[in-house]
Amino acid sequence: MLDIPATKTSPRIFFSEESKKLKISGESYPENTFAFFEPVFTWLNTELPNYDQVTIEVNIRYMNSSSTKCLLDIMDMLAEAAENGSNISAIWYYDPENERSHEIALEFGEDVSIPFIIKPEDQSGQS
């Protein structure tokens, strides 16, 4: 069970057992970013081997540089699961009205080794 509620400065992080989606959405600049993401790393370490399919969906309005580091570490852990035979992919939503948001998505995608889809958030119907 992974469901961390959003605050003004930190995203909601939720894993849906039904859809096998790991969703991260909101703002991400918590005071102590590494401490904030620690439960997610723990969950990935212990629970990820139990699933043969996971899609990570990221929809973040703003993230600080430490959050970028944490998200990349999460992607690396998912890539390891993919190497062990799991079906892993990522969807990254960006704000089509914000050119920076798209640049961030593209640059982040350069460092990710799992299938990485970039979508404008309006077409997704997601928030």
């Binding site: 003004k8 400065t9 600049y29 005071e31 102590n32 970013t33 590494f34 703003y62 600080n64 540089s65 430490s66 970028t68 580091k69 990349l72 704000d95 009205e97 914000n98 050119e99 920076r100 948001s101 640059e107 460092d111």
Partner: protein, 182 residues
């Protein structure tokens, strides 16, 4: 009576939008961040500019706060000055805080390294840092200054002044383009 009018005139001349002088707590960082975002929205700035100013502001203030937390400096050194201003259509985020003398050479070397790089070089350095093992003592990922420089229009403007035998005062002024290149 203090010279508030005089202070106001200085602020007007310097284009000061928000200034804060004191111990920078997390909730103050949050509130000022919300205020500056809202100000930029109200002034019809594009989302790109808002992102740039907000990113610089958050990295700069969280850098200062994280540093002061791990520095072991006494509380009397915690007072930080923060100024957000608009100068000739560009935005400036300026911060000034105490730094232990022994930490100055490392910071200075980092600032010089960053100022010697162009955007492509900054991106490369950012990616290298992103892949480095995190320093367990540090509260950040060592990315803050690089991130700031990547959003800045000009080279980082910095200065160190002596406070006393223990500490210097580190000033950092970051200029962000008011609107993206047409």
């Amino acid at each position: 009576m203090c010279d508030l009018l005089q202070l106001k005139e200085i602020f007007n001349r310097k284009g000061v939008l928000i200034s804060f002088n004191g111990s920078l707590t997390n909730s103050i960082i949050e509130e000022i961040g919300n205020a500056i975002r809202q100000y930029l929205v109200d002034n019809k700035h594009g989302k790109g500019t808002i992102s740039d100013v907000f990113a610089v502001y958050i990295e700069q203030t969280q850098n200062v706060r994280n540093y002061l937390k791990i520095s072991g400096l006494e509380e009397k050194y915690w007072s930080t000055i923060l100024v957000i201003s608009n100068k000739d259509g560009n935005y400036q985020v300026s911060s000034g805080n105490s730094i232990r003398k022994q930490d100055v050479p490392t910071l200075l070397a980092r600032l010089e390294q960053i100022n010697n790089l162009d955007q492509a070089g900054l991106k490369k350095l950012y990616k290298e840092q992103l892949r480095k093992e995190r320093n367990p003592v540090s509260l950040g990922a060592g990315l803050g200054l690089i991130e700031i420089a990547r959003h800045a229009k000009e080279k980082l403007d910095y200065q160190f002044d002596e406070i006393d035998e223990n500490c210097d005062f580190f000033s950092l002024i970051v200029t962000i383009q008011g609107e993206p290149d047409a």
